[in-house]
Every structure is written in C-alpha cells, then in structure tokens.
Assembly symmetry: C2
Homo-oligomer: 210 residues x 2
C-alpha cells in the first residue's frame, strides 16, 4: 500500500508537475484585468465623447437660435417716405430669408429632440443605435443649415454689392442696419454649422472606440 | 518523511482536484472558432461597405463633374443688340456661379484624391486611420457642395422670379436657355450632395462594425 502510495506520490508529483506547468496559465486573470482596464478606459473615453457631444449640441442649438432670432426680428423703416409708399424692409421680403429662419428654427427643434438621445449615450456608452441615428440626423442638419447659410450669404452679398450684369442694385446702400443685422445672423448660422460638423466627427470617433 | 509525503499526497490530490476544476477552460477554443467566424463575417461586411463606398464616391465625382462642366460652359448670347452692347450672359457674370463651379471642381479633385484611401479600406478592412480621415473630409465636402448648391439655388430662384421688394427683375425672361442650363447644373450638384451624405453615413456604419 505504501508502494502504491509512493506510486500515487509519483503520479501526484507528476500531476503536481503538470499543475506547476499549468501554473503559468494564471496569467489569464491579469489579461482579463487588462482587458477590464481597457474596457473601463474605453467606457470613460466614450463617456467623455458623449459629454463633448452634449456640449457641442448645446452650442449648435444656441447659435442656430441666435441666427433664427436675429434674422426673424430684422426690419428697418427708412426715415423718408413718399405719399403712397413707406420704405420698409423685413426678413420675409426675400424668400431666401424665410427659408433661413425656418431652417435654423428646425435646427433648434432638432437639438431639443436629440438631447435625450445624447443623454442616453452618456448613461449607456456602448449603445450604438441612438448614436447611429444621431450621426444620420446630424449629417442631414449639416446639409440643411449649410444650404440656408449658403443661400442667404449669396443674397446678402448681392444686397451689399449688387450685380451690374443683371442690373440688380445694391439695396444695402439704403438699408444699412437691415443688412448689418442679416450679416450677424449669417455669422451665427455659420457657427451653428461648424458645431454640427464637429458633432458628426465626434460621433464618428465615439463609434470607432470599442 | 513518509508522513510528509502523505501530506504531499494530500496536497497533490488537492492540486489534482484544482487541475480538474481548471480542466473546463479548454472550451475557449470553440469560442475562438466562433469569434473567427464572426471576424470573417465582419471582414466581409466591411469589404462590402468599402465597395459601396467606392461606388458612392464615383457617383459623387461624376455628379459634381457634370455640375461644374454644365455651369462652366453655360452662356447665351441674345439675338438682338444695340449699337454699343451685345446681350451676353455667362456663368461668371454672377460671382455665385464662379463659386459654384469652383466648389464642384474641388469636389471632383477631392474624389480623385480620396479614391486611393477608399481602395486601402477595401484591401485592409480593419484600417481605421484612412476611414476617419475620409469621414472628416467627406463631412467638409457635404458642407462645401451644399453651400455652393444653396447659394446658386437662391440666385437662380431670384433670376427666375425676381424680387419686387428690392427691385431685382427676373432676368430669366430674356435668358431662358441660360437659366435652364444653370438649373440642370443645380440638379447635378444636389445629386452629388446626396452621394456625399450617403458616404458619411456609410463610413459611420463601417466604423461601427468590428
């Protein structure tokens, strides 16, 4: 029995040897720890990007609101008038500015709609659905805000400089304040546009990180 | 010493028990096989998206090229003239169309520049660097092409309808062909814009897949 025991010992020592050989495997735990650490770092990175997202969103919303408000409240009444006509300029005298105000108002509404999704991205950094939805809609907003800003810039440029070839006169020579206010609204709109572009790039980075 | 040995046996049997407990880990190999299968599927998906990317890119390039070419070659000479003046309309009579042609030409140049990166994304579906660069530049192009298309639309609308409030007359009543050609160029430019937006969304999906 003793010999058996010693045999057992031999086997066991073998087993032990194997166990010792298998001892290195414990490294797996540290590997798991590092992946966990990477995951935690990634989650932190994603949360950081989600917070940047919400800040950019608020920036875009305020800039678009400013653009819509300034353009929508722009009017100028010239101090001279004829018997039948008073010289009065308002944003909706030019259809382009009606579009400008509408597009920026839509952008503000979209920001209000998208904020809850953006908050979901902070709470659940790995949620991909809301982020993809936001990237898609942000791209649409980049196009919408830029089309309004581009169109209005073309018209404001024309109002400032006129065009001799088509016999369109510069109306800004009379309506100075009106043109200045519209230029201010344009600047606000371009700021909103930059914010929307940063939103798309930021979301792309957030989707990249795993 | 024997007692020590028997003690050792006890320990070794313990160790053996632990070894048996550790035996289950072998399952990992099958897991690795499934991740390999998933990886292959993902690589195929990524390759598919990269091929869609190149197709969209070619579509955007041809549309932008058509827009630039049509607008750049648009001119009309009216069949009547005075002693000192011949009525002749060309795209660069309006600075907006100069910008329109330039922006679409830049878009065509960018497509030529981006094609090699797009091919890299087909060959190496997991390369993230070129894809991030493309998303960033595509977003810039969405904004650039849209600003040109928006500005030109505003001017073409004005040329078609005029604006009584600012005393700008509709020039399209005389320059019919000129206005029609420009409208065609605008349509081509909006098609290019849609392609660029799809490019951004497509790249986002490609970055999402892992």
């Amino acid at each position: 029995m003793n010999s058996k025991r010693s045999g057992e010992v031999a086997i066991s020592s073998d087993a032990k040897g194997k166990a010792v050989e298998r001892a290195p495997p414990p490294p797996p735990p540290p590997v798991v720890v590092t992946t966990k650490a990477t995951k935690i770092r990634n989650i932190r990175g994603k949360k950081g990007l989600a917070i940047i997202d919400i800040v950019l969103r608020l920036g875009a919303g305020s800039a678009a609101l400013a653009a819509a408000y300034i353009a929508g409240n722009t009017e100028q009444i010239l101090p001279f008038f004829t018997q039948f006509f008073q010289f009065h300029a308002q944003y909706n005298d030019l259809p382009t500015f009606t579009f400008f105000v509408a597009a920026n108002a839509v952008a503000v509404g979209y920001i209000a709609f998208s904020l809850p999704f953006s908050i979901v991205c902070i709470v659940r950094p790995h949620a991909i659905g809301p982020r993809l939805l936001l990237v898609f809609l942000d791209t649409v907003m980049v196009a919408l805000v830029m089309s309004a800003a581009g169109a209005s810039t073309a018209i404001v440029y024309l109002a400032h400089n006129g065009n001799l070839n088509s016999n369109w006169l510069a109306i800004c020579t009379q309506y100075t304040d009106f043109c200045q206010a519209l230029s201010g609204a344009l600047v606000a709109s371009f700021v909103a546009e930059v914010f929307f572009m940063l939103l798309v790039v930021n979301s792309t980075f957030a989707l990249k990180r795993k």
